[in-house]
Amino acid sequence: MATLELQHLTKKFGDFTAVDDMNLSVAEGEMIALLGGSGCGKTTTLRMIAGFTEPFSGTILVDGKDVRSIPPYRRNVGIFFQNYALFPHMTVFENVAFGLKLQKLPKAEIRERVENMLSLVKLVGLDRRYPRELSGGQQQRVALARAMVTRPTILLLDEPLSNLDAKLRVEMQVEIKRIQKELGITTIIVTHDHEEAVSLADRVIVMNAGRVQQIGTPQEIFDRPVSPFVADFMGFSTFLHGVAGPEENGLLPVKCGSHTLHVRTDGGADIAPGDACVLTIRSENIALAKEPGDNVVSGQVRTSTYKGHTTRLEVTGCFDETVYPALSEYTEHKEGETVQLYFPPERICVYKDEKKMEDQ
């Protein structure tokens, strides 16, 4: 259990900057998710914290002390590897006991701690099996037990759930969160799955091309992404381009194609009249409207996909861009049918269109 602080952390591989001036402060017992696509620098960050890779510049502080000069085997950082990295020539017990044996603890204590940990991850009775005799979910729990049994100051989880099927994934999310809270280990989890990040972490960091895009609570990131990039990564699929008008009563009118959508900004958006901007809204927040009104636009259904708890539509004709509402009630919509869609002003996120500004 410890605090972790990254200051101006930078990693370069030749001309390529993998991690660019990263700053982060993690509180004791906090669980942070590093979220980003492949090559965004999240795994490199993890490897620097673990000590497998040296930073180009910047500092890594654990409990306020710079750990850059400490070799990886003395950092006491527990790591869960994406492919589990269980030792194939050792039993479950030996795998979990490996770190404790290196600490030269008495045999009785090792046995006790390994058994406690195995019961925590619900693997009692499997201690004599070899990794290859276990299912994927069991192997994963062995890896988790092995990473935590040494009571690391910091726990790093690299894509812990990516190899599991959907059902096991949800189960393990609950499990990891439970164990992490129970032991109170400061944890960083790396993932490319925004749902995983949001459901596991206390705070989420969205990274792109080595740079931090946004740091915030899951709600903040999920509802108020700071840029179209983050929005796209968090599963927003409807993006509209338009031109802003003058703000009135906390509502910003944006002219998209032939329609004007009002966005509730309450003076918070740094957008001047005439600025090109991008609007985005979560599919679930677009609703069907019975009659015309403010922020109601009609369009034609192109496709309709039943998704179980939602029906996802592809609607064209309202704007230049396609709109993707996800309706919670099950209603059948035929191809070519005209629907009226309501865009709640407080649910729309608005950004300055950086690309257009550069083009001008």
Partner: protein, 264 residues
């Protein structure tokens, strides 16, 4: 038995092939027990006198055996040290020309040993005074290296290097990682390579016959020399013993490596 005919034919062929492989060996083994002065089959009577003859000093077989073992064991041990280190650095690190380096280490396999012996012979005669053991040792040391390198590389090629990171993160220093993770997991390849290398050295004729000095002669050369002068059942007897020894080694390797392979 739906395919009775096919089955019957398959079995017959299988049995014939096995007979073809085993028959000469059986003849040798049986002939080694003959009391007659020439190799005869079927043997007339039973005697162990040709076995006893192996151990008489006039054949020099025991002397040859000791020298073969000396060379084989020493060369294999040193080659394991060198070959495993070479294989590790080739497999672990990414650098230009690593394939070229691997081919370089395994090139002795492709050079005819007679040509190789010729070069060494030239070298020795120019240097002069190279002792007999060293002459053969250097030759064997080089020609068996590829077996160790190749077999170790074949295991390390599919080695999961993350395991080393995992051990490191659990507190293992580089030496501990090497002996607790890397070596145990590479062991099947190293042992297989070492055994093949040793057997090659133990069996080697071409190089040894050209490089040996009158005072340092390995077992295969002793046997060859003996064969040139006498053709009695002593040869059958020593062949039988060598076969038994090989069999024991192979079983030993199965136990050691086979089990390990199974554990992976």
């Amino acid at each position: 038995m739906r395919d009775g005919h096919v089955n019957w034919l398959c079995r017959l062929v299988a049995v014939l092939v096995m007979l073809f492989l085993v028959a000469p060996l059986v003849v040798i083994v049986l002939a080694s027990f003959t009391p007659t002065a020439l190799v005869t089959f079927p043997p007339q009577g039973f005697s162990l006198k040709w076995y006893a003859n192996i151990f008489t000093s006039s054949t020099h077989f025991m002397d040859g055996l000791v020298k073969s073992l000396e060379i084989g064991i020493l060369a294999t041990l040193l080659d394991v040290l060198l070959g495993v280190t070479a294989a590790l650095s080739i497999c672990r690190y990414d650098f230009r020309g690593k394939n070229a380096l691997l081919n370089y280490f395994t090139s002795p396999m492709y050079v005819p040993s007679v040509a190789f012996a010729f070069v060494l012979l030239q070298l020795y005669s120019q240097l002069g005074g190279v002792p007999g053991m060293l002459r053969i040792f250097i030759g064997h040391f080089i020609i068996i290296l590829p077996y160790v390198v190749r077999n170790t590389v074949s295991v390390l090629h599919v080695f999961n290097w993350t395991l080393e990171d995992a051990a490191t993160s659990l507190g293992a220093n580089p030496v501990q990682v090497f002996f607790k993770i890397t070596i145990p997991l590479a062991k099947p390849g190293i042992l297989a390579g070492a055994l093949l290398a040793f057997l090659y050295s133990f069996d080697e004729v071409a190089l040894s016959s050209l490089l040996s000095t009158p005072r340092f002669i390995t077992l295969p050369i002793r046997i060859m020399n003996y064969m040139e002068l006498t053709f009695d059942p002593t040869l059958a007897a020593i062949s039988t013993l060598l076969m038994v020894a090989s069999l024991v080694l192979i079983i030993l390797m199965e136990r050691l490596v086979g089990l390990d392979m199974f554990m992976k």
